[in-house]
Assembly symmetry: D2
Homo-oligomer: 366 residues x 4
């Protein structure tokens, strides 16, 4: 049996680098040699608390579980019945392979699979969410269902290619917001990786003006580099009246909330135009006070999004391949595979202006 | 100049019965002789505080303003260019005639008109919301734009015909929830007139099971009469686990929140299925604590609705005309025109089991 | 190995009753003991020519293939990982189990699976369309993927339960037409089983008026029994001016073409309202002349539908279980299992007013 | 009374340059001084035969009617109640101002207004379609409803700004096709002005690959300049197998038919992927043979589009203002106002490679 290096989760918060068998393949699966993995805020959540919103599964601690879900690599083996991809294909990934048999998967909502996490035991439904409920990308190899793969063009570096899944999440957000963004005014709240991706993707789809809010000037500057027309430092200027002023008193057509700040949803509601729409792509761990009266009397629609559904990753990859979407300013640091703890620290503490921090599973630095 | 009897609003909370000129007509308008007007909770709000969510207009107090918006009657005069309706037509009404020239009206979202209330002065945009910003139905006659009229069949009594607009509101809710309700499980929270209408309309569209929650047994009994398959008294049984139990642990496909209770939105989120949708048709006057994390991780969509857009009133009237929707159990009391204060008291205090209370503007009781 | 009786296809047009092994189950599959199977016009097509629109598969002749796709029965065995259904469940079926891995299945369009018919050989994608590309319902037992099953209430007879899939096809049509049919005027062209189902389902969803056209009076009479408000004998009255007259010169909101007549699409275009929508649920074997200029200048949308997607069968079954949809007038004849050739003749030649003809695979008459 | 120069239509095909009163304004209207007007194929149709698809109006011949609908200019006067625009605003136009009171306008489908052309007499519904049923752009001034105006940035020349309405038509097409075009494969058939605009707009929205077909190499070259990834000369290579080859045998996700060629719809159906969608933006004057069986069995949706609905012109203008959409290669020739007959000849006969030919109503050349 071949082995590989992989990081596994011990007790909450504890990661260890171990040797682990290279996984074997079932029908419709391929083996990806992982060339780069980015760190996402949700990884920190999984490592500390386990996957959010999973009901009925066991916690991932001390079960030899490998987190990490934003990765790309090269196909080195294909499982039975696979002719959709071939050995040597360079690929990025979607996180969710739905079970394919629940009501939600049947209607195309595979990121809301009702069998989420049921990939074990007698009634194994075959759901996979790599890095959440099945082994993920902080390893040298990973199994992926063919449903979760998109081809990556040679023009993108490994590091930038890890951002395809980030693009997919925000592309999915724009899809649920109606899809035709050209000429719509958009406010993105929060300039983390998701928010910056929302700026870049929204701009690639023709949003105008694209307004970005955050409290860190350097992040706002990156926002300008990826396409924000106007930035607002919420620490210096209240954002609701600022947006009102910038939109002739009417509010923005669309708001994409990416901050998870406690008052963010309420502010989103107050800065969106009557009859407008709000996408919720982030959240805090405590309930938020929300002015429901404003939602009702202004006919506002709110869309919570999980993951990157409706083939959004494919769309994001296509824009990047065409040179219409450049997320390279989000990538700030690369580390070797054995430097994951350092990489996590850089990401978490925003050391040296870190935004997206990547490890290279085939490379060792020490 | 002909005159008519009309109730007008003095100081907040004060109504007076006066003589007022019968209004004259502009292009695309008709004069309706009002035969019946129902009282709605929003009327109480308008009388006490002015219309909700109107920005930039003057308050309606001491301006000879007539409230009331759930009415029906007979066309007695048609304005210039009108051939859509004729004198003698029996009609019920939509509340909102959009301005027809703002962005929202242009896209068919006339209940979210951006010129809401701008029907005065040099830049009069022609918006009308009878009983909110233009004179309404607590009078013997009212002006209506042809856009706001639907024909009423002879098979419906005047009293039941006033419920067409109530049907329209919930029909609009089901429209934004996706429209094809057949076979979906639905929870309606709150058994007021809107909630009961949501039960009846949802059932007419094929919802199954239709679950209704409230804290008043008599209202739940009325719910059963209009189509609820299952009723839950929320005062005796927590509704979230009850719905979970009734739906095999998955939650309901759709939740229609009609109670305005402080915790209602949060409960709606927790009782809807992953990937499900919630319509918000009611609200309280204070912000609600909402578990945004649940909304995001379960990909839940929330739809605030204002009024009865997308020709929903026409759809509701059609179902009633076909005998597929019977809201007659909602009508409990009828009063003469001069008894409006008594009628309001019955409605407000639920005297004698009052649900929908109607006055007849052509009838005087004393 | 257990055996069962089954009809198999020899040369085009030749059916033989044979003994065949009872099929075995894979993951996510169940074994259905078939209690009733209806005959559909598409069966005749399959028997004579092979499945329509299948690219790349071998023809079904002389391969021991069993046609038949409108059936119901009782689960007698469940395959690995199945807990969605249990032995003893009474079920009706959808035809299509998509492959679950192509782009269309991934977006919920499983009846348009891009791997249609690829359920054999090295790259078996697992697609099933029972009675088309995998063994169907003219047998005592059939394998079904759990995706394709809906529960059947005890209130429905076996014969009527076979009509659930027919209801599903038209329910899917109404779904693609926009879903909210209440109050819309609808013309159904063609009073075969699909057309009659379109009448009944459309009426159950609130269409008004529901207009049915055909050239056979007895079929139009059945149409009236299942909900048509107005019937037009196209042999006696040209339908386009008739619909124009019945709709105040505007045309119908929606047209559901179920006749497959050569001029039917063109007539549908001319009888639909400007900005209206047409569902195409039938077709002839030769191209039709279509007035594309009318389609473009009147902003008409045309929707071809294959099968019964978007969980339409579940919706239809729910309406039938609720007593809101009664297709029993469509069922006219029942035969024993060994009488299939006679049953087909009755169906094909409309012997004795036959509409839906059913065989009972567990019953032998001779 | 002020007068202006205007071209008016005499007998079919006859245009004359006359003096005409500068029109006066009603509520919600502005007076546009026309700075540039492009010639469209539909203009030739109107001049020769009258407007397509108008029912019930009088023909436009010998009634002092001015055609022309693709124009831009500067607001020189505003009518009563107008504060949406101001004197001096530089604007391009939508063609259709719906009546605002029919069912279609009420649902936002103003290009399918049911009162199309009813802007005269006792029951004047106020519909305007400048250049079709009301005076258009081959004049020095025109009246426009505020609904039909979009601002034009200074970065665009007058000539290029006339192409905003062309962009709007194809933007509307992409809207009805689903809106989120990024990553979809698209075939545009026909490289006239609409087809070339479809290429450029589709590419701006992220289509990939964008395939263009035509029979004229120079047009295909222009297609490449505005964004086509692949061009096919249909005179040299059959397009259906070419598209099949280019899309791995699956067909294109979307087809936008802009040629009006007799066999174009049928070819579109055969080159679109199973479950795909086709937009019909052109047509010939005779019915087309269409393989309806292919439409039904492959679940294909066909969308006829009229005009530039759903605020598509605003979206197109925004992309042009942002520099994300460059239609300048479509503009080939400019003439003075009195040279309209020459301009029409250049356009019609494609003299000197003419694509879009513009006249400047404020300029006289002789």
């Amino acid at each position: 049996m071949k082995t590989m290096k992989a990081w596994v989760l011990g007790n909450p918060g504890e990661l260890a680098l171990v040797d682990k068998p290279v996984p074997s393949l079932g029908p419709a699966e391929v083996l990806v040699r992982i060339d780069a993995t980015a760190i996402c805020a949700t990884d920190l959540e999984v490592i500390a608390h386990g996957p959010p919103a999973v009901v009925g599964g066991e916690p991932p601690f001390n079960r030899n579980f490998t987190p990490g879900h934003e990765y790309m690599g090269t196909i080195v083996e294909v499982g039975p019945t696979v002719d959709e991809f071939a050995i040597g294909d360079r690929v990025a990934v979607e996180i969710h392979a739905g079970c394919g048999r629940c009501e939600r998967c049947r209607q195309g909502m595979y990121t809301s699979c009702l069998n989420y996490g049921r990939n074990y035991g007698e009634f194994n439904k075959g759901h996979r969410a790599n890095g959440f409920t099945t082994d993920g990308g902080f390893a040298q190899y990973a199994v992926n269902h063919v449903n979760t793969l998109v081809r990556v063009p040679e023009t993108l570096t490994d590091e930038v290619a890890t951002l395809i899944v980030t693009a997919g999440t925000t592309m999915y957000g724009y899809d649920v917001l109606g899809g035709l963004i050209a000429g719509e005014s958009v406010v993105v709240t929060g300039a983390g990786p998701i928010g910056l991706s929302a700026v870049a993707v929204g701009k690639a789809l023709g949003a105008s003006p694209m307004i970005l809010t955050d409290i860190v000037d350097s992040r706002l500057e990156t926002g300008t580099r990826v396409g924000a027309d106007i930035v607002i430092n919420a620490g210096r200027e209240p954002v609701v009246p600022a947006v009102e002023r910038l939109t002739g008193g009417r509010g923005a057509d669309l708001v994409f909330e990416c901050s998870g700040a406690p008052n963010a949803v309420n502010e989103a509601i107050h800065m969106v135009k009557r009859g407008g729409r709000v996408c919720l792509g982030a959240f805090s761990n405590t309930p938020s006070l929300v002015d429901i009266g404003d939602v009702v009397t202004n006919n506002i629609f709110l869309y919570g999004i999980r993951g990157e559904g409706r083939s959004a990753v494919k769309r994001g990859a296509s824009l990047m391949a065409q040179g219409r979407l450049d997320l390279s300013p989000l990538h700030t640091h690369t580390f070797g595979f054995d430097e994951l703890p350092t990489a996590i620290r850089y990401f978490k503490d925003k050391v040296d202006g870190a935004i997206k921090v990547v490890i290279k599973p085939q490379e060792f630095r020490d």
